[in-house]
């Protein structure tokens, strides 16, 4: 509340951007571009932490009980046994933290935090967010929460170990690490809501003169709809977390029936009468839309990049916008498809199956429109384009494997198997992370004023693309074979033993995939300082951010903007060049053409003279 009041003051102050102290500029900055960079750096650090966790998990699955090479002996004794192999306790913590970190501290901050913050004001021609102070608060809640989440490491019982879904009673009877996890998630939720409020207000209120809603680039549309989902969905998770916190910390029993037999915890105070499924409903009411929070901005970024590098208008712009809106709306009413086998009323199973099947339609529309965008284009395969192209292809796989889950009888078999793990990684890694890579390279010149290294970018892309498929595609097969998710040692089961070579194959790919990400970091860091200087509009793109200097100063634009066109007027027959910035007025177009014709005439005359 107070924050809202403060921010209005800041807006007035910051119009005169005088030199600021180091702390105001780099740490407690209210500049949306700096906040975007802060989100990016923090999230990339978490990306490596979460990725390292994943590699430990993979090692254990491929070589159960064998010591971790090189560093096994160095890890603390609460994590590994004497030989240096992962223990079952640490394994469950690893998988919980891998999921939580990757979702809440990597993908959402990268897509929503970084791209939302960086792109929105620049793409709508505003000088900053509507509430810059709120924006800063929203960022600072995030690293605090991230550290808190991992703070369980210092506690007895270790980090949270109930899976990222934290189903009670398991999470309600767990140790201190779980309590910290709940608090951390609550903070992250609050941070998301503040961000969401800010984005919605900014997009509705601060568009440059002449810019209608249907002149917004897809990135902005996608983040706008995402922000709406965030504001609608996240608070429900927050309330569920509050109740889980009460159960966990104060021994209430929202989610716990009477007389649970738990040797590790004093249950005498817990009255009972709760309903474990209630958590699942509340949780998925947020967390299913959260999947769309994690993919919609990616879709927006990819739409922009595909259009730019195909030099073509985005195919079916309005259909794309309505598809996003449809996904958002339907996304909130399909949460029950995570619960077909949970013991909920089978009638609800039918209801949610139908709504889930319907939600596949807008995703199909988007895919076809992307194809349409490339049709008869003039494609240039730069690093952002390669990543965007990969996004579409991987998203198709993720979408198709989703149909298996929508169908209730099939879902009952593949639920909680590696099929789900494969599916979610095709959507969140193949989808979201490829979109992140695409966006990072695409906006790198604008963000830093320098070009990234195209050669390293392409190497990074190809290695990632190949090993990504090598890692996650076989997981579908494991799932079809029935291998349970979150299992510590698959060799316990006879029917899973034949899959061990496949597990090894996955792990080898995952290792390469993990280490290939250092290429990305190297490219970003090196180019940031040593890269070639970037021009104002290196991609010859239409949207407004390319009208600002690279990098944009505090306050963003150095001239007044007026928007005349939609964002995707590439290769228009009206213009000489193959792009038409949104700010170019009809008079300017006319003048350019006259100029061009004159030049042609002169050239013709010269030719005839010669």
């Amino acid at each position: 509340m107070e924050a809202v009041l403060h921010t209005e003051k800041h807006e007035h102050n910051e119009a005169h951007g005088h030199s600021e102290s180091f702390i105001r500029k780099y740490i407690f900055s209210t500049d949306h571009k700096m906040i975007a960079k802060q989100f990016m750096f923090t999230a990339i650090i978490f990306l490596f932490i979460g990725g390292a966790f994943a590699l430990f998990i993979r090692w254990q699955l491929a070589y159960p009980g064998e010591p971790i090479p090189v560093i096994g002996q160095m890890l603390p004794s609460t994590w590994v046994n004497d030989a240096g192999a992962v223990t079952a306790e640490w394994y469950t913590q690893l998988l919980t933290m891998h999921g939580s970190i990757m979702i809440f501290a990597v993908i959402i901050p990268l897509l929503v935090g970084t791209f939302g913050n960086f792109a929105i004001p620049l793409m709508i021609g505003a000088d900053d967010m509507a509430f810059p102070f709120l924006n800063m608060v929203s960022f600072w809640l995030f690293p605090v929460a991230g550290i808190l989440m991992m703070g369980g490491f210092f506690m007895e019982g270790g980090m949270a170990a109930a899976g990222w879904t934290a189903y009670p009673p398991l999470s309600a009877i767990a140790s201190m690490g779980q309590t910290l996890w709940i608090v951390a998630l609550f903070l992250i939720g609050f941070s998301s809501i503040l961000g969401g409020v800010n984005y919605v207000t900014t997009i509705l209120n601060m568009r440059a003169p002449g810019m209608k809603m249907f002149d917004l680039p897809m990135t902005v549309w996608a983040v706008f709809i995402t922000a709406i989902i965030i504001t609608i969905g996240t608070p429900v998770l927050a309330s569920a977390l509050a109740m889980l916190f009460m159960d966990n910390f104060l021994h209430t029993s929202f989610f716990q029936p009477e007389n649970l037999i738990v040797p590790t915890r004093d249950m005498s105070r817990t009255a009972g009468g709760g309903q474990p499924l209630l958590w699942q409903h509340l949780f998925w009411f947020y967390s299913h839309p959260a999947v769309y929070i994690m993919i919609l901005p990616g879709m927006g970024v990819v739409s922009d990049i595909l259009a730019t590098f195909s030099r073509k208008p985005l195919y079916g712009y309005k259909a794309m916008v309505f598809a996003i809106i449809a996904i958002a709306f339907l996304g909130i009413v399909v949460w029950g498809h995570h619960m077909f086998q949970s013991g909920m009323n089978p009638l609800l199973g039918t209801t949610f199956m139908v709504s889930t099947m319907v939600i596949a339609v807008p995703s199909a529309i988007k895919t076809f429109n992307w194809l349409g965008t490339m049709w008869r284009g003039q494609m240039q395969f730069t690093t952002p384009m390669l990543n965007a192209v990969a996004f579409v292809s991987m998203f198709v796989v993720g979408g198709l494997s989703g149909i298996f889950m929508a169908s209730t009888p099939v879902d009952v078999f593949i639920h909680d198997t590696y099929f789900i793990v494969g599916h979610i990684h095709y959507v969140l890694f193949g989808g979201s992370l490829f979109a992140v890579f695409a966006g990072l390279h695409y906006w790198f010149p604008k963000m830093t004023g320098r070009m990234y290294d195209e050669r390293i970018g392409k190497w990074h892309f190809w290695i990632t693309f190949v090993t990504f498929n090598g890692t996650f595609f076989p997981m579908h097969i494991l799932g079809v074979g029935g291998m349970m998710r979150r299992i510590f040692d698959p060799t316990v089961y006879d029917f899973l033993k034949p899959f061990q070579p496949m597990n090894e194959f996955i792990t080898i790919n995952a290792m390469i995939l993990g280490f290939a990400q250092f290429l990305l970091v190297y490219n970003l860091v090196y180019s940031w300082f040593k890269g070639r200087k970037a021009k104002r509009n290196p991609w010859r793109a239409n949207t407004l951010e390319w009208q600002a200097p690279s990098p944009p100063p505090h306050g963003n634009f150095d001239r007044a903007l007026h928007v005349y066109h939609g964002p995707y007027e590439y290769s228009s027959p009206l213009t000489v060049q193959d792009y038409l910035p949104q700010t170019t007025s009809p008079e300017e177009i006319e003048e350019q053409r006259r100029h061009h014709e004159q030049r042609l005439q002169q050239k013709n005359e010269q030719d005839t003279h010669a």
């Binding site: 107070e2 504001t231 929202f254 009411f285």
Partner: protein, 196 residues
């Protein structure tokens, strides 16, 4: 510096940022309480006897007084904004003071209610009714406190430096929030105290 500074005073929707942002935030707050109400309904249907018996242990008279106090504070909040908009700062201060007193009154009565529950050995973990009761009213009370802080800040500023008429938008934004707090109580009151 920025040539777009004008967009601040002229927004695309014609609604100033504070109000629009507050409405978005309130929409999200509605969903926050949706979670609790959903849980309340589910748990009530599961343990109807426990809920009925426990609800009768609550003090309806005190709750009714508290409702009246909160509604009064809502009125004075609206009036204080109106006064500032008309440029009458003295009246603005008066009504804001009444609002603050009412808010403290509400919290005081709430504290009394909690204390009398604790003295009867009733705690959140006693049963699910009291778990929801304490959680919902507790979060509501936190929202009251969240509203009190900027109110006191405004009042203090008005007394020390004066609060210009041009700031009436902030009072309106705060008012929106405050009415929402009132609104949540309007639903909590029958749900917890009356319908059983």
């Amino acid at each position: 510096m920025s040539t777009l500074a004008t967009t601040h005073t002229q927004t695309n929707t014609g609604i100033y940022h504070g109000k629009l942002g507050m409405w978005v935030f309130l929409a999200s707050e509605i969903m926050f309480f949706t979670g609790f109400f959903g849980a309340f309904i589910v748990l009530r249907n599961l343990n109807i006897e426990v809920f009925t018996a426990s609800a009768h242990q609550l003090d309806k008279v005190v709750a009714t007084i508290n409702t009246a106090v909160l509604i009064t504070s809502s009125l004075t909040m609206a009036l204080s904004h109106l006064a500032l908009e008309r440029g009458n700062e003295a009246k603005f201060r008066l009504f804001l003071t009444i609002t603050i007193i009412c808010a403290f009154g509400f919290l005081g009565i709430k504290t009394y209610e909690y204390a009398s529950k604790f003295s009867h050995d009733i705690y959140p973990w006693t049963n699910n009714f009291f778990a929801t009761y304490f959680t919902m009213t507790g979060f509501h009370a936190l929202h009251v406190i969240g509203g009190l802080i900027p109110m006191i800040w405004m009042l203090g500023k008005s007394m020390v430096k004066g609060y210009p008429q041009s700031m009436h938008h902030r009072v309106e934004t705060l008012g929106l929030y405050w009415h929402f707090v009132d609104l949540v109580w309007i639903f909590l009151f029958p749900t917890l105290y009356l319908i059983f």
